[in-house]
Symmetry: C2
Subunit: 346 residues, 2 copies
């Protein structure tokens, strides 16, 4: 089984965007608020909207996508906390419906109603709802709810602890994923995303978070940002700071995905990062939509890069494509077992 | 000849730090201002202070270091514009004295008196002074003078044009190098530096700066941040934005150094980036000070990684170690020719 752990709902029906417009228009003129959170989207429209993803799953040979609302659409910095909660609820409900309609293809991951300067504790009710009621197996956690201004405390700060406690209790991992940037210095997918990944890893390196939360699991997407390319720098910084080896300090709790859009990048990733810490992902249909003129294939067809790695053992391959996902997302494993997909013995 | 284009004066005599303390203490109590900009540092003390660099040059086999004030020490966000100007002047003067004392080992690159929110136009007098009076061959340009808050406009904004005009007129390149971070989210060398590199590259990708300044040259240090690791992403984003191929859009003007502290990173860098765009550098004695337990050698001994690349032709090697530096820093080339080091024919 090939599990793509990083897909966002980037092909939403227009009705969702119209709802969002009404929500935000309502800030200026309450008369324009949406009358209802019922978007009037039929099941048929929902299924139709994910045809691009289904087509790519089939063509590229993946089975299941861990699917969450559009990352840039979370926009935690926009509006008010109440509006953000409504937006998260509506967005999560749509993901839930898609997962219910196409359970073989999609499993849900949620958006939290974070708001800059507000304790992540306030996200706990929605986190509990999506996991216990909607059956989601993980959640996206934005390390910068201010959207490019980085005004909230680092991830190792006690500010974040309430949400970590709940994540551990529920046995769900968080993907550390920023949203859009309202700082003109940071292009979203070209700078803010990658910087967010690098920043999160370095915060974790500086701290000792996993001493307090030994069971907490973070996925850092986009191949871990700059981290694998600068693996020597991070090993060296940890050493200068008298931290344990990264394998012990962080890599029991931190995982990178394979959203790196060329073969040399994937080669590096698998060379320096243990196969126990790499999870297959493509973020399709996502950040980079085109076909690479150098290969004639889609940039984000990351399975092709992995398939070209001759030195990757069958065991490592299994970990990257399925085993690690089932270990990092234990609720996914439970779900798959229930559906008759036993986990392979390591 | 082996030219290391990225060294900072990180071994300054204590007198420089005492001067800085007095400068900043003077903000709170004018009576504590330094009485003079004469630091009372003898030539012997200066020469002694760079013994670590001279030792590493000899041991590792590099000849000449392009040397600038400590990057994190620039701290453009601290104090006032006037204090920053005094600080830049004093810091540049020390570099100049070292380069005059040890001309075979060091060539100067300067610090600009940037200040958040203030036009870089104000840096022109100091830029002219260090190039025409002190013989510096380049300058460090901080894309985020606010020190981790990213409050100034992107590098493609007209805000920056006056300094670009002067850089072109003087024929000196700028290394795009942030300073320290006062945002607790960003560790300086582990996040802010690397994010600064990635951010700068993406800003340039989004814009068309080199149409306005075809002769402007930027060095993006630390191997270009995350860029080579995500080279497919950047090629794909450029394509999605209908920009020319990166080779034409940016890579006649943008260069990466080799401050990547492990062999797989250097392998990737030289695999995806043309040898015409890579300049040898180590940033010694700098960000990562220790010895890699996996190799028994210093993390920042980047020459060793390059020496291990079997597929690198003699021609590419010459470009990376000397040729590109002489091309990107034309005033360095002039200086070397005057000293009897002719440029090798390509």
């Amino acid at each position: 089984m090939i599990i793509d752990i990083h897909g966002h709902y980037t092909t939403e029906p227009q009705a969702l965007q119209l709802f969002r417009d009404k929500q935000l228009a309502g800030l200026a003129d309450p008369a324009r608020k949406p009358g209802s959170t019922d978007l009037g989207i039929s099941d048929a429209v929902l299924v139709k909207s994910v045809e691009p993803q289904l087509k790519f799953q089939k063509e590229r040979g993946s089975d299941l996508t861990i699917f969450s609302p559009r990352a840039s659409g979370m926009a935690h910095h926009v509006g008010t906390e109440a509006i953000g909660l409504q937006w998260a609820t509506v967005s999560n409900d749509l993901i839930h419906r898609i997962c219910a309609l196409l359970p073989e293809n999609f499993v849900g991951v949620g958006q939290l109603p974070q708001f800059p300067g507000v304790s992540p504790k306030n996200c706990i009710p929605e986190l509990e709802r999506i996991v216990t009621k909607l059956g989601f197996v993980g959640v996206n956690l934005n390390p910068d709810p201010s959207g490019g201004w980085w005004k909230d405390p680092p991830l190792t700060d006690k500010f974040w602890y309430p949400i970590y406690e709940k994540l551990c209790e529920l046995e769900v991992p968080a993907m550390i994923h920023v949203s859009s940037s309202c700082n003109p210095n940071f292009h979203a997918t070209g700078a803010h995303y990658i910087n967010g990944d690098t920043t999160a890893f370095m915060q974790l390196l500086q701290g000792n978070l996993f001493k307090d939360f030994p069971n907490l699991k973070f996925v850092i997407p986009h191949g871990g940002g700059a981290v694998p390319f600068h693996w020597g720098r991070y090993r060296g910084l940890a050493q200068d700071m008298k931290k344990p080896l990264l394998a012990d300090h962080l890599m029991k709790n931190v995982f990178f995905d394979t959203c790196v859009y060329h073969l040399p990048g994937i080669e590096l990733l698998t060379k320096v990062i243990s196969p126990d810490n790499i999870l297959f992902a493509s973020e399709m249909v996502g950040a980079v939509k085109g076909i690479d003129p150098e290969t004639g294939h889609y940039f984000d067809d990351t399975k092709r890069y992995l398939d070209q790695l001759k030195d990757l053992s069958a065991e490592s391959r299994h970990k990257i494509f399925e085993g690690n996902a089932r270990r990092v997302y234990p609720r996914l494993d439970t779900l798959l077992k229930k559906r008759g997909h036993p986990a392979k013995k390591a």
